[in-house]
C-alpha cells in the first residue's frame, strides 16, 4: 500500500503540473483587475493539490498510515482481468449503441456479460437480456418520453 500511496501523490502532483501548464495558456479577459480571472480558481486548487500530495507522501514516508501490508499485486490481482473484459464489453456496447439502437445493443451487452460471468442456464440467457432491454426501453422511451438511441431499426 505504501507504493500505491506514493503513486497517488505523484499522480496528483503531475495533475497539478498539467493544470499550471494549461492555465498559463489562458488569455487575459476583461476581468483581470483583482486577479480573479479565469485562471484564478484552477491555480488556487492546483497549489492546494500539490500541498496535499506532498503531505500524503510525507505522512506515508513517516509511516503515519494504518498498517497495510498489501502489495501492488494484491491490490490488482489476476481477477482484475474479468473487470477489464467487462469494461471492454461495455466500451463495445457504447460504440454499437447508436448504429444498432438501444434494444439490440442492450440485448447483446447482457448476453456478453452473462457469458463472461459463465451463466449456463439457457432460459436465463434467452429471457433475461430480452426482458431487461425491452422493460427499460418501454419505461424510459414510452412511459417517461426520454429518447434512447434508435439505430437501424428505430428501437
Amino acid at each position: 500500500m505504501k507504493k500505491a500511496n506514493y503513486c497517488v501523490a505523484i499522480v496528483f502532483i503531475l495533475l497539478s503540473g498539467f493544470v499550471f501548464f494549461q492555465v498559463s495558456g489562458f488569455q487575459q479577459t476583461l476581468i483581470e483587475d483583482d486577479y480573479v480571472g479565469a485562471a484564478f480558481f484552477p491555480e488556487l486548487l492546483a497549489w492546494g493539490t500539490i500541498v496535499l500530495a506532498v503531505l500524503l507522501g510525507w505522512l506515508n514516508f513517516k509511516n503515519k498510515f494504518q498498517e497495510d501490508s498489501r502489495s501492488l499485486s494484491d491490490l490488482f490481482p489476476k481477477e482484475i482481468l474479468t473487470a477489464l473484459e467487462g469494461l471492454t464489453v461495455l466500451c463495445a456496447y457504447v460504440l454499437l449503441l447508436e448504429p444498432l439502437g438501444f434494444i439490440l445493443a442492450t440485448i447483446a451487452l447482457n448476453i456478453a456479460l452473462l457469458l463472461l460471468f459463465r451463466v449456463r442456464s439457457l432460459i436465463t440467457m434467452a429471457v433475461f437480456p430480452v426482458s431487461i432491454s425491452v422493460i427499460v426501453y418501454l419505461v424510459f422511451c414510452k412511459v417517461l418520453v426520454v429518447p434512447l438511441p434508435e439505430g437501424l431499426f428505430y428501437f
Partner: protein, 489 residues
C-alpha cells in the same frame, strides 16, 4: 388560516384531486429510483401534461412528483449503490453498507420514515413561518454563498473515512473537475480542448453514476467467481423498530429543519442539504465513528435533510416568486402558465390554491411514507437476485441513466471514465464521495468567491465583516476540528 387549511385538506381528498396526487407521488418514486432521472427532469417531463389541467390539480401532481422523486432516489442508492438523484448521494454512504450487511429493509424503512419527517416538518415550516424565512434567505449575497459552499466542502474531512488527506485530495480533484467548461464569470473556455461537449463542464449525473455504480460493478465483476459471491444473499426482512424510530426522531427533526433552511436559500438544493445534514448528524452523534460503516443515523439524517428541502424551496417561490432550486424554477413556470403570479399577493388572491397546495404536500408526504413502507419487501427482492444477474442490470441502468440526462453518448463515455477512476480509487483506499460533493459545490464556491472579491475591489475583508458568512465559516472550522479530533481519538 386553519379554516383555509381544512378546506385545502377536504379539496385534496376529493375525487378530482386525490388520484392526481397518488399518480404524482408514485410516479415520482419511480422516476427518483431510476438512475439519471432527477426530480427536476421528472417535473419538467410531466409539466406539458398539466397545461390543460385545472390549477390545483396540476400543482398537486407536480409537487407529488417532486417529493416522491427526492425520496425515490434513496431506493437505488441503498440497494444498488446507484443514487437515483444527486440528492441521494449522501444516503449511499451508510445505506449501501447496511444493505451489504443484509439490512436493506431496515435502511429502506428508515429512509421512508426520515423522508416523511423531513417533508412534514418542512411543510409545517412553509405554512407557519415562510415570510420570515424568505426575508432571511434573501440576505444572502456572494460572500454568504461562498461561506455556505466552504461549510459544505468542510464536510469532505468527515466523509473521508480512514484518511482525511486522501479525502481532501479527492475533493481537490472534484473541484478541478468542476472548473472544466466555460468560466462562470468571464465565459472563457477552460480545459475544454476544443470539445464542444465540455463547454458546459461535466454533468453531475454521469460523474455520480460512474463513481458509485459502475465502479462498484467493476469491483463486483472482479469478485464474481469467488465462492462467497456464488451464494445468494439472504436478507433480514425486519424493518426499523418503533424504539429505533423514536431514538432517531431528534436527528430527523434537526436534519429536516436544516434542510428547510437550506432549501429556502435560492440556489442551494437537496444535494447540498443531504451532505450538510449527514455531516451534522455525524458530528453530534455519539456513534460518529460508525458513520460510513452502515449506521442508521447516516441514512436518517440525509433523507430527512433532502426531503426537508421540498418545503423549504417553496418558501421563496410562493412568498417572493424566487425559486429555491431547479424544481421550483419549473414550478414557477407551472404557476405562471396557470395564470398565477407567485409573491405576497398569491396568499390573498389565490388562498384556496395555496392552501390546497400546502394540504396536498402534507397528504403527499403521508402517501410517500405509505408507499415507501409497503414497497420495502418488494424493493428488497432486487438485491436478493444473484450477482451474475444484478451486475448486468446495474450496468444497463447506469448507461441509460448517463445517456438520458442530455441524450448524449459523450456523457456515457464520461460515466465509463469516472467508473474507471472510481474503481482505481477504491483500490487505493481513496473515498469517491468527496469528488461528488466538490463537483456539486465547486461552481457555487468559485463563482461566489470571485464575485465577492470583485464586489470588495480585491479585498478579502468579506470573510470577517459579513455576519452570516462568519457564522458559516465558523461552522466549517468547527466541522474540520471535530473531524480532526475524531480521527485522532
Amino acid at each position: 388560516m386553519l379554516l383555509l387549511l381544512w378546506n385545502g385538506l377536504c379539496a385534496t381528498f376529493s375525487f378530482a384531486i386525490f388520484p392526481f396526487l397518488v399518480i404524482g407521488v408514485t410516479g415520482g418514486i419511480v422516476i427518483g429510483a431510476l438512475p439519471g432521472l432527477t426530480a427536476t427532469m421528472g417535473v419538467a417531463v410531466l409539466l406539458p401534461f398539466t397545461f390543460g389541467m385545472e390549477a390545483t390539480r396540476a400543482l398537486v401532481m407536480l409537487c407529488g412528483i417532486y417529493i416522491g422523486a427526492i425520496y425515490g432516489g434513496s431506493i437505488s442508492a441503498i440497494l444498488l449503490k446507484t443514487p437515483g438523484t444527486p440528492a441521494a448521494a449522501a444516503t449511499v454512504l451508510d445505506g449501501y453498507e447496511l444493505a451489504r450487511k443484509g439490512e436493506a429493509a431496515k435502511a429502506l424503512s428508515v429512509s421512508a420514515i426520515a423522508s416523511f419527517v423531513g417533508g412534514m416538518v418542512s411543510t409545517v415550516m412553509l405554512i407557519t413561518i415562510s415570510p420570515v424565512l424568505a426575508s432571511f434567505a434573501l440576505r444572502f449575497g456572494a460572500p454568504e454563498y461562498f461561506a455556505l459552499a466552504v461549510f459544505g466542502l468542510s464536510i469532505i474531512a468527515s466523509i473521508s473515512g480512514k484518511s482525511p488527506v486522501k479525502g481532501l485530495l479527492a475533493g481537490m480533484f472534484g473541484l478541478l473537475i468542476s472548473t472544466v467548461g466555460l468560466d462562470p464569470v468571464t465565459s472563457y473556455p477552460r480545459f475544454t480542448f476544443g470539445q464542444i461537449n465540455l463547454y458546459n463542464g461535466f454533468a453531475i449525473i454521469p460523474v455520480l453514476i460512474g463513481l458509485f455504480a459502475l465502479a462498484e460493478a467493476f469491483v463486483q465483476m472482479e469478485k464474481i467467481f469467488e465462492k462467497a459471491q456464488a451464494i445468494d444473499t439472504r436478507f433480514k426482512h425486519g424493518m426499523v423498530s418503533l424504539k429505533e424510530t423514536i431514538s432517531l426522531l431528534p436527528i430527523m427533526i434537526k436534519s429536516a429543519l436544516i434542510g428547510t433552511f437550506i432549501g429556502a436559500i435560492p440556489g442551494a438544493g437537496a444535494d447540498i442539504a443531504a451532505f450538510v445534514t449527514y455531516n451534522e448528524a455525524r458530528r453530534s452523534s455519539k456513534r460518529g465513528n460508525e458513520f460510513g460503516t452502515g449506521c442508521i443515523e447516516g441514512v436518517a439524517a440525509p433523507e430527512a435533510g433532502n426531503n426537508g428541502v421540498t418545503g423549504g424551496a417553496m418558501v421563496p417561490l410562493l412568498t417572493l416568486g424566487v425559486p429555491g432550486d431547479a424544481v421550483t424554477a419549473i414550478l414557477l413556470g407551472a404557476l405562471i402558465i396557470q395564470g398565477l403570479q407567485p409573491g405576497p399577493l398569491l396568499f390573498t388572491k389565490n388562498a384556496d390554491i395555496v392552501y390546497g397546495l400546502f394540504s396536498s404536500l402534507l397528504v403527499g408526504n403521508v402517501l410517500m411514507l405509505l408507499f415507501g413502507l409497503l414497497g420495502v419487501r418488494l424493493f428488497c427482492r432486487v438485491v436478493e437476485l444473484p450477482k451474475r444477474i444484478i451486475i448486468p442490470v446495474i450496468v444497463t441502468l447506469s448507461i441509460v441513466g448517463a445517456y438520458s440526462m442530455n441524450n448524449s453518448i459523450f456523457d456515457v463515455w464520461v460515466c465509463i471514465g469516472f467508473g474507471i477512476i472510481g474503481y482505481i480509487m477504491q483500490k487505493v483506499d481513496m473515498p469517491s464521495s468527496p469528488i461528488i460533493l466538490a463537483v456539486i459545490l465547486g461552481p457555487m464556491a468559485e463563482s461566489n468567491l470571485r464575485r465577492a472579491v470583485l464586489m470588495y475591489q480585491g479585498s478579502y475583508s468579506f470573510l470577517w465583516t459579513r455576519p452570516i458568512g462568519v457564522v458559516f465559516l465558523a461552522l466549517a472550522a468547527l466541522s474540520l476540528y471535530s473531524s480532526y479530533r475524531r480521527a485522532h481519538s
